[in-house]
């Protein structure tokens, strides 16, 4: 018999109790996985907006809680364009409209000649040529069952679909593109854009240009990477904080659950632990056995919790209001985080009972009734 066999058999003694402990920790792990996957999806989508196409970085209004609140004077685009090292600056207005069954669809107001800056490749048809024409992202085109030549009504105005595009970013592929001035008119934001995409000359230094912009335009902020998304989206920061809070709660609640289970197990097996010590087992081996049981419980919890997390996140996607905004992304990092949390739960919850068991005096343990 191997030592691990003993650990497994010990856990299987009280199957119901072990199962409920595993379930309790699994729910915490599932929350971490689902929340992590949704946050990854959100970050990737935001990245899709802010790092789209050929842009090296993006400019938005500083001090805003959400990107949709960003409001930049359209003339600033020209000033940015004139900065040294800047190859091209493109102002884009972003609006959110209900389309079909989806309450939140992003409308991209952009000049036809700047579509390339969004990274859009036209799959079918052509770019819009006038204010009554629009283009559909590939995904929304499929969802709506509309293609080139069809009509689409937005805010009681009818538009003709001239093309279907694809960028690879969820917000754009599930969105629409229309002429900038038309969206400005619909949004009543004439002369304003939401973001400015900037493409640099090959020899230009990204950090230098960004620094120059932030120094010259106090109300603007530059976003170079996903780690800077928090500058324009407090939602991500809130999600990050929520994820951390869930992890801490999972450790606390799971830890207490494991401690309770393992303490009961140690109490029930007091005489048995006495026998193990009587036949020569060292304190360390008793400690490892109890910790091993707690770690094994947590490994089961990670497996079940991961499965529950994936199912939970997928079920969430069935809700129409979420479709098109979020796509859960399950990364190795998310699962690693869940595993680390479970491991901490196992150590935190298992250590005290294991320590107590290892400290039992063999003679007292054998006399225990």
């Amino acid at each position: 018999m191997r030592f691990l066999t003993l650990v497994f058999k010990n856990i299987s003694r009280r199957k119901t109790r072990s199962a409920f402990t595993v379930l309790g920790i699994s729910i915490g792990i599932a929350t971490i996985i689902a929340l992590g996957a949704l946050m990854n999806g959100m970050t990737t989508s935001m990245e899709g907006i802010l790092k789209s196409g050929e842009a090296d970085f993006t400019i938005a209004q500083s001090g805003i809680a959400d990107l949709s609140f960003s409001r930049i004077d359209e003339n600033v685009t020209g000033e940015i364009q004139n900065l040294s090292g800047v190859k091209k600056a493109t102002g884009v207005l972003i609006g959110i409209y209900p389309v079909g069954n989806s309450p939140y669809v992003m409308i991209w107001g952009v000049r036809a000649e700047d579509l390339q800056m969004l990274g859009a490749s036209i799959l079918n048809g052509s770019a819009f040529a006038n204010e009554s024409e629009i283009m559909l992202g590939e995904a929304i085109s499929k969802d709506l069952g509309k293609t080139v030549g069809d009509k689409l009504v937005l805010r009681e105005e009818e538009f003709t679909i001239t093309g279907v595009f694809q960028t690879g970013a969820i917000y754009q592929d599930r969105g629409l593109a229309m002429p900038l001035n038309k969206l400005q008119e619909l949004e009543k934001k004439e002369g304003y854009v939401t973001v400015i995409y900037v493409e640099l000359e090959e020899e230009a230094n990204l950090d230098t240009v960004c620094k120059q912009i932030e120094e010259n335009f106090a109300n603007l902020v530059t976003i170079k990477s996903a780690s800077e998304l928090g500058k324009v989206d407090q939602g991500l920061n809130i999600m990050n904080a929520a994820s951390l809070a869930v992890s801490i709660l999972a450790i606390l609640i799971g830890g207490i659950g494991v401690t309770n289970t393992m303490m009961m197990s140690v109490f029930e097996r007091t005489r048995e632990i006495g026998v193990l010590r009587a036949v020569g087992w060292k304190k360390r081996r008793v400690l490892i056995m109890i910790l091993g049981e707690s770690i094994t419980l947590c490994i089961f919890s990670v497996l079940i919790g991961s499965l529950l997390g994936i199912i939970g996140a997928r079920l969430l996607m069935l809700e129409p209001t979420i479709q098109g905004i979020l796509e859960p992304m399950f990364t190795l990092e998310t699962f690693t985080r869940a595993f680390i949390v479970a491991f901490i739960v196992a150590l935190v919850g298992g250590f005290y009972p294991a320590y107590r068991a290892s400290k039992l005096s063999p003679s007292e343990a054998l006399r225990y009734e």
């Binding site: 018999m1 010990n10 299987s12 005489r271 010590r277 036949v279 020569g280 087992w281 081996r285």
Partner: protein, 238 residues
């Protein structure tokens, strides 16, 4: 004459800060290969003495040496318990989820043995207590006598010279008790020293030496004058 394997001198053990005196100056000498029975009424200190000899407890004062190990001053008694002595208790204390074979392997985990070696050794030990056919049974599927014989096989796992048994027949019917005593006799015949705590005169009759303990002291020692032939005869009959 066989050499001394267990020697105690003025052994005192108190509990509750000296309020309870379990042993009150026990001096005892046991030779290698002897079968010793310790008898006495409840609470006279029999189990306490056995626990001290087994390295499960330390005396409050006095001297105790077992197989050249000074149990009063040894820093760590884990390896002593693992290799020098094997213990059998009144309750078999087998792990209920493990089979007889697996239970016997428990003490071997502290030794550097492969899984195959452990399995082989466990099979031999179960054979020694005539339980080879019950090796894959969990304790609930074994009779009381069989469980106690598994406990004996477990006590022998690391091949100790000395077997210490605390009322090993206390919870058994007479037939099962006989089976267990027979196993001890066989092991004694092979040269192992047996120290057995009992309050059963019939069980004690099988010993070479009977020590009567009362109020924490040895009141009397009785050497059993039994010929090797007589012992062998009684074994064969069993």
């Amino acid at each position: 004459m066989e050499k001394l394997i267990i020697k105690t001198r003025d052994l005192i053990k108190t509990f509750e800060g000296g309020l309870i005196k379990a042993l009150n100056g026990v001096s005892l000498e046991i030779r290698e290969g002897q079968f010793v029975a310790i008898m006495g009424p409840s609470g006279c200190g029999k189990s306490t003495l056995l626990y001290i000899l087994g390295g499960l407890d330390r005396p409050t004062s006095g001297e105790v040496t077992v197989d050249n190990v000074d149990l009063c001053n040894a820093k760590n008694l884990d390896s002593y318990r693992a290799t020098k002595v094997g213990m059998v208790f009144q309750m078999h204390n087998l792990i209920p989820v493990l089979t007889a074979r697996e239970n016997v392997q428990i003490p071997m985990m502290e030794l550097n043995l492969s899984n195959t070696e452990r399995n082989k050794k466990a099979a031999n030990l179960l054979n020694l207590v005539s339980l080879e056919k019950r090796a894959d049974f969990v304790p609930t599927k074994l009779s009381g006598g069989e469980r106690q014989r598994v406990a004996i096989a477990r006590a022998l796992a690391n091949d100790p010279k000395i077997l210490l048994a605390d009322e090993p027949t206390g919870n058994l019917d007479s037939t099962s008790g006989q089976e267990v005593i027979q196993a001890f006799q066989r092991l004694n015949k092979e040269g192992r020293t047996i120290v057995l705590v009992t309050h059963d005169k019939d069980v004690a009759e099988h010993a070479d030496l009977i020590c009567h303990l009362k109020d924490g002291k040895i009141q009397a020692e009785k050497e059993q004058q039994r010929s090797r032939f007589a012992r062998r005869y009684s074994l064969d009959r069993l």
